[in-house]
């Protein structure tokens, strides 16, 4: 079923609810509760969760993974936690999406930056102690966001190396 765009969610809600009921009657033995959610409903719910939950959601099942990876959800997370850097939404999208997307931006750059500071982030250091994440991370300022975007660009550019090397000029 093709997912409707966020704007048209509400009018179609009634239809969705009916469909869910029908499906759950037909596939009653498929498991209980949340597993029966169809993509759209799941999407709606995930729009309201925080980053950690969203990431964990992608580990639940294939359907959940597919839904939780949606760039729009991660865009919401990013803009929720980042100061406005002065550009329009569409402008931001047109830069971030081709360079790897909001999910990557968040997991590789925004998230490490917003974690409380402890030992250096070398890859072979022992894993950091578990932080009890009761509070949502602080809002990142303009500078932090710009740093993350720059690093995203550099990483994309570096990866481009390999593609180009194969081509013969």
């Amino acid at each position: 079923m093709k997912r409707s765009t966020p704007d048209s969610q509400i009018p179609g809600a009634d239809q969705k609810m009916k469909k869910v009921k029908v499906e759950s009657e037909e596939e009653g033995e498929e498991g209980s509760g949340l597993m029966n959610l169809d993509e759209n409903l799941l999407y709606e719910i995930l729009k309201h969760v925080d980053a950690r939950t969203l990431a964990m959601a992608s580990c639940v099942s294939k359907l959940w993974l597919k839904t939780a990876k949606d760039e729009r959800l991660w865009e919401l997370i990013c803009t929720r936690h980042c100061a406005n850097i002065g550009c329009g939404t569409q402008q931001l999208r047109s830069v971030v999406l081709p360079l790897g997307g909001f999910r990557r931006l968040h997991s590789r750059y925004l998230w490490p930056l917003s974690k409380p500071q402890y030992a250096s982030t070398s890859s072979w250091a022992p894993p950091p102690p578990k932080i009890i994440n009761s509070k949502p991370p602080a809002r990142l300022g303009k500078d932090e966001v710009q740093l993350c975007l720059s690093l995203l660009s550099i990483q994309y550019y570096e990866k481009m190396n390999f593609i180009n090397r194969d081509r013969s000029f």
Binding site: I85, G86, C87, Q91, L92, S94, V95, P98, L99, P112, L113, Q117, S120, T121, S122, W124, A125, K142, D143, E144, Q146, L147, L149, S150, L151, L152, S153, I154, Y156, Y157, E158, M160, N161, N164, F169
Partner: protein, 606 residues
């Protein structure tokens, strides 16, 4: 078992020397961990230590470990009294019998012999970084230099205790081996400095079963009065020898310099980590200078690029340079609709994606971006500049920025005329000139820098960003240059070492090679070949201001940006960003290493 190997490896000098602590802890660990009992082979000898060349029965391990700790304690405390007598009487025939040796050492300590040698051990200090050692030498150097040189000289001629020295043919300086008495101190030194002694590379030709490479020159001959060096670590001696060698070169005393250079090589092996690498590179450079084997300066530019890429990955210096310069350029381009950037050293173009992206997100949309990249000619006639240009073009296209690239090939920036740099066909609102580690090369050619600066002025740029090494490697006196360079590159190598990268790592090795080439150029070359003519920020400031530029100060946002970069994404916590009269410097601990400055044309207010 793997873990144990790592510990032992750490003790034998893979990590940055942590002195005897590593040794006792590793042996202690081997002792206390119950796992090691699995490592015994049929003969009852501890397998792991056997690998290192020691034969210790597993059953004796606890005992030996205890005794070693005792020994270490005694030596540490007995420093002032002169425990050198230990090296005198007892003859140890079986160097690999660790427990026997320890036993005899301890019994000797309890019955001190009469002969007086120089105190040898100062284990507690072996942790000191290179800087500490150089500072040590710095203190004693001016007053005692002559004496040090002579004592080192005589050391050179009397020092015979390393087995591998004998193995080196043709060194007339080293007399035939003396009694066994000297060899104990070697072994003793070797044992207690397991933590700081280095690789097995050099000692491979030795005749005795030494798994661990012999530590460097250790003993002083028995009749020598106390050497005037504060501490006896090989590290300080190494620095002194380097200085002495440089001075010999300066005085054109090539025979002495030659002997000293070889000596440095040996001393260097006994060090671990950064000190060893720095010393090795400097020794090689000195040797080149002495023998007049100058490095091929027509180094393949693409290989230099590759080395620089690895350097980019391992440490934050280049990232710092790019981020700060981009910030200044971004601010200068705030309202322009078509911008032109001239990059004096395009290399792989790593600086520009971030700027293109920042321009793409500018409120109001991106300007049209023209980039002129300058690079050296390639030996195989490939157009490296165009390749990079295409990549950048593709990148810019991906995020919706209008981009045009132009490549200029030039051997030296001074070859370029101002007309070549300009783009006349386009309506350019703002021009920026960017140079990362390029301007100092012009100082090799008389008139070079003046010509380039006047060409830049003719372009009427909105901003000129220059990143340079913060050091004076361009003094007229060789010895001063050498000393400066030693300090500078020691700090740099320290920072690479401290970056927490698991050794051995290809990036790290390549980065070191990249720096090693610079060292070679500073020390071994002269005249037009010596292009690594670094100068300090103050010197550049004077030069720029004389040429008619006025400084543009970096804002706090640039400072914050790089501070965050270092705090989060760079490995190692010794990096320091500092602000220096509007310019930003990045250094390692207290030593600034590179400096970014921004300039605009000085306007004369009428």
């Amino acid at each position: 078992m793997k873990r144990k190997h790592q510990e032992i490896c750490g003790a034998t000098g893979c990590g940055s020397g942590s002195g005897s602590k590593a040794e006792s802890s590793s042996i202690g660990n081997t002792n206390r961990g119950k796992i090691w009992e699995e490592d015994q082979d049929a003969g009852g000898m501890d397998e792991l230590l056997a690998v290192l060349g020691y034969k210790v029965r597993s059953s004796d391990m606890a005992d030996v470990a205890q005794k070693l700790e005792q020994l270490e304690m005694v030596m540490g405390t007995a420093q002032e009294d002169g425990i050198s007598h230990l090296s005198s009487d007892t003859i140890h025939y079986n160097p690999s019998d660790l427990s026997g040796w320890v036993q005899s050492m301890l019994t000797e300590l309890n019955n001190p012999a009469t002969e007086n040698l120089d105190p040898v051990m100062a284990n507690s200090d072996s942790n000191s970084s290179i800087l500490g050692q150089i500072n040590h030498s710095g203190h004693s150097k001016p007053q005692h230099q002559q004496q040090i040189v002579s004592s080192i000289q005589s050391q050179v001629y009397n020092d015979d205790s390393e087995y591998d020295l004998r193995a080196i043919p043709g060194i007339a300086a080293y007399p035939p081996p003396k009694s066994e008495s000297d060899s104990e101190s070697t072994r003793k030194r070797m044992k207690t400095s397991i933590g700081s002694s280095g690789s097995t590379g050099y000692g491979s030709s030795s005749s005795s079963p030494q798994g661990i490479g012999v530590s460097g020159a250790v003993t002083e001959s028995s009749t020598r009065p106390v050497v005037l060096i504060d501490s006896q670590e090989t590290g300080v001696r190494l620095v002194h020898t380097l200085m002495a060698c440089a001075e010999a070169v300066q005085q054109d005393n090539l025979k002495l310099a030659d002997a000293l250079v070889n000596h440095i090589g040996l001393l260097a092996v006994s060090q671990a980590g950064a000190m060893r690498k720095v010393a090795t590179y400097f020794a090689e450079a000195l040797a080149r200078r002495i023998y007049r084997i100058y490095p091929q300066d027509s180094l393949d530019p693409s290989s230099t690029d590759i080395l620089q890429m690895h350097f980019y990955e391992t440490c934050p210096y280049l990232k710092f340079a790019h981020f700060t310069a981009n910030q200044a350029i971004l601010e200068a381009f705030a309202t322009a609709n078509t911008v032109h950037v001239i990059d004096f050293g395009l290399k792989q173009g790593m600086q520009w994606p971030a700027l293109i992206q920042a321009l793409a997100l500018r409120p109001g949309g991106p300007p049209a971006f023209l980039l002129t990249g300058i690079g050296p000619p390639q030996p195989d006639n490939t157009d490296a500049l165009q390749q990079v240009g295409r990549k950048l073009h593709q990148f810019a296209e991906t995020i919706g920025v209008k981009f045009k690239f132009r490549g200029l090939v030039a051997n030296s920036l001074a070859d370029l005329e101002p007309e070549m740099l300009e783009i006349r066909t386009a309506e350019v609102d703002a021009v920026a000139v960017n140079s990362v580690f390029e301007l100092h090369r012009l100082l090799a050619r008389p008139g070079g820098i003046e010509k380039v600066l006047s060409s830049i002025k003719a372009l009427k740029p909105k901003i000129l960003t220059a990143v340079e090494q913060e050091a004076n490697h361009n003094g007229p006196i060789f010895l001063e240059r050498f000393t400066e360079a030693l300090h500078y590159y020691s700090s740099l190598f320290d920072s690479l070492e401290g970056s927490g990268v698991a050794p051995p790592n290809q990036d790290l090795v390549m980065s070191e090679l990249y720096l090693g080439r610079q060292i070679c150029n500073v020390v071994a070359c002269e005249g037009m070949d010596r292009v690594e003519r670094h100068e300090t920020l103050t010197q550049w400031r004077t030069r720029m201001e004389t040429a008619g530029f006025s400084p543009v100060h970096f804002g706090s946002n640039a400072y914050n940006l790089v501070s965050m970069l270092l705090a989060r994404f760079a490995r190692g916590d010794g990096y320091r960003v500092e602000e220096n009269n509007g310019c930003l410097t990045l250094g390692w601990h207290t030593r600034p290493l590179i400096a970014t400055s921004a300039w605009q044309l000085a306007t004369t207010e009428s």
